[in-house]
């Protein structure tokens, strides 16, 4: 029992982690907290669904198209909304992402309807045997996909010019700009990467919960909770925080109360902010004035 709970918790946590990676990426690249991240994922998943159903494309082709599709959603959104706000106070950027939330959320409901649709599972329904327990292949597959995305991100940030430029810009925007880093392009890359990663999380959620325009709201909250738990400005911290949230939430639902499973994340946010506001894995940074 406990092995299954932990495994499915890790799988859920991996989904949250992917969304949290997207959130932290944009926050690091542009100082904006993108409240529309989950809805961008949902939109991308709906488009994939249409390609599968009406477009008649086979599943592997759609999956291959998902990444560029997500990147395009992110990039177009960034170009249309962010440039006029670059010199405005950060609160304005945040308000703009809330406008995006409304557009994507209700736009999807308007276009695809408000009924949940079933999305084909990406993995075989046969359970696998692990540690003497039967674990759903779906869980293992989700964890595997998440690990792959993380490795790709690691390579991008450590070994490519674009990645290094992004890290520089996130540390000190003005200094990076003086060194010839194009800050506008960093913002664009951040949004495109985040869009691609979040569509992966959307594709992993949809088979679990049905494809629905509401499906990412609670996932977004849990991604936030995980990112705060791990420390909002570290990518690995956010991932570990989300995995913890996934497992703890599953245990909470099984042993304490399943009705309040979704509010567990809010409790975590408040407790973490009270006890260790900088998160588990970052030291609090003294700001230089």
């Amino acid at each position: 029992m406990i092995v299954q709970l932990v495994a499915s918790g890790l799988a859920l946590g991996s989904i949250y982690a992917l969304l949290a990676l997207a959130l932290v990426l944009i926050n690091k690249a542009t100082d904006v907290v993108n409240f529309a991240q989950g809805e961008m994922a949902m939109l991308g998943t709906f488009i994939c669904f249409t390609l599968l159903g009406r477009g008649g494309l086979p599943l592997p082709v759609v999956l291959a198209l998902a990444l560029p599709l997500g990147a395009a959603i992110g990039a177009v959104t960034e170009r249309l909304t962010m440039p006029p706000l670059r010199s405005a106070p950060p609160v304005n950027g945040l308000i703009a992402t809330i406008g995006l939330w409304m557009i994507f959320h209700h736009g999807a409901g308007w276009i695809w309807g408000y009924d949940p649709l079933s999305f084909p599972s990406l993995f075989s329904p046969e359970p696998a045997h692990m540690l003497g327990a039967r674990v759903a292949q779906n869980s293992l597959g989700i964890i595997g996909v998440a690990i792959m995305v993380m490795i790709l991100l690691y390579v991008f940030f450590d070994y490519t010019r674009g990645g290094i430029a992004m890290r520089a810009a996130s540390m000190n925007r003005r200094a990076a700009q003086l060194m010839g880093v194009n800050v506008g392009r960093v913002s664009l890359t951040g949004w495109a990467l985040a869009g691609a990663i979040s569509v992966v999380s959307g594709l992993l959620v949809a088979p679990l919960t049905f494809l629905d325009f509401e499906m990412m709201v609670s996932v977004l909250l849990k991604a936030f909770a995980g990112a705060i738990l791990g420390g909002f400005n570290t990518l690995p911290g956010a991932v570990i925080g989300c995995l913890l949230i996934g497992v703890l939430e599953n245990l909470f639902a099984a042993y304490v109360s399943s009705a309040f499973k979704d509010t567990f994340a809010f409790g975590v946010i408040i407790v973490v902010l009270m006890i260790r506001p900088q998160g588990l894995f970052t030291r609090s940074i003294a700001r230089k004035v």
Binding site: V33, P90, W101, I103, L273
Partner: protein, 315 residues
């Protein structure tokens, strides 16, 4: 200055006269204008003065509405006392959410309020014996000194008076030491803190005042509707509040009123678009943040400065 006073007097008398030309439904819409305007006022204090954002004001709205409804129905308090209870409950929870979130820089408060709104909605839904859960809760009509205010026409004037009172309080708060400190913090946290202004304390005060205003509005709304259900207090409501406050104008009380008018009238004007309405609101919100950050209320000033610049500015 005198021009502004004249304009304000003209606006107030127009608002006092309008309901005479309206039917029952029109009075209901006008009453909701006032209720939304109070929420916009509360967001003015939080965002316009404090530079903090909340995407969970529907949560405080709900607390105010249920707090007042339960105080009136279960405890037998009079209407105005019930409304005060609603505001107090919302304020207390405002402190609970803001206290932890403000120890850190960044947008943690916004995230915490998002979680808070979802939390409140779920608790109200699950706590069936108290709140009626799925069935909802019936709320009696407002009553003053033992007289029930049966028509929305009469209630509108009460709401209008309450709005004016709260706007007056908000104006005084803006000019108080705390209000000025808050605005200094928004403009430059570092400079303000160097002058000895404590950031967390001031923002918490702003957040609590904002939550109380929002709770009062929710309480008044409950008595207008006559029936509460948790669907009213969804995330979409929080986001509509935010967009109305931004579109009306975050830095002025007249802007808050415009925001209320916008939120109450837009669904009537955009009825043709049905499901696309929220999409239009989203687009308007983004366009407004990009090109008219001062909101609709700053439109005359913007137009004037554009006209004045034209002869000189062109290359």
């Amino acid at each position: 200055m005198t021009a502004r006073v004249l304009l304000a007097v003209a606006g107030v008398s127009a608002l006092a006269a309008i309901p005479f030309g309206l039917g029952n439904y029109g009075c209901y819409i006008m009453a909701s204008v006032m209720i939304y305007a109070i929420v916009a006022l509360s967001l003015n204090i939080l965002i316009g003065m404090g530079g903090q954002i909340s995407i969970g004001h529907a949560g405080f709205w709900a607390l105010g509405a249920y707090g007042s409804a339960l105080a009136v129905t279960k405890l037998g308090l009079p209407f105005l006392a019930g409304v005060a209870v609603g505001g107090a409950v919302a304020g207390a929870f405002g402190a609970l959410v803001a206290l932890p979130a403000l120890r850190v820089q960044g947008h943690y408060l916004a995230i915490a309020t998002l979680g808070f709104a979802l939390f409140v909605q779920q608790v109200l839904f699950e706590w069936e014996w108290l709140t009626g859960g799925r069935q909802g809760l019936f709320v009696p009509r407002p009553a003053l000194f033992g007289f029930e205010i049966v028509s929305d026409f009469g209630y509108y004037y009460l709401l209008f008076a309450i709005f004016l009172l709260l706007a007056w309080i908000a104006g005084n708060f803006r000019n108080s030491l705390t209000g000025r400190s808050l605005m200094a913090l928004r403009m430059s946290p570092v400079a303000a803190e160097c002058c000895g202004i404590a950031r967390p304390r001031h923002i918490i005060i702003a957040f609590i005042i904002s939550a109380v205003f929002c709770g009062l509005s929710g309480a008044l709304y409950g008595h207008l509707l006559g029936h509460l259900s948790t669907e009213t207090f969804s995330l979409a409501a929080s986001l509509s509040f935010l967009s109305m406050a931004v579109i009306g104008g975050l830095h002025s009380r007249a802007g808050a009123l415009l925001g209320g008018i916008y939120l109450a009238l837009a669904p009537e004007l955009l009825r043709e678009f049905k499901e696309a309405q929220m999409v239009i609101y989203g687009v308007l919100l983004i366009v407004c943040v990009q090109f008219l950050p001062g909101g609709l209320i700053s439109l005359p000033d913007r137009a004037r400065s554009l006209l004045r610049r034209k002869p000189h500015g062109a290359p």
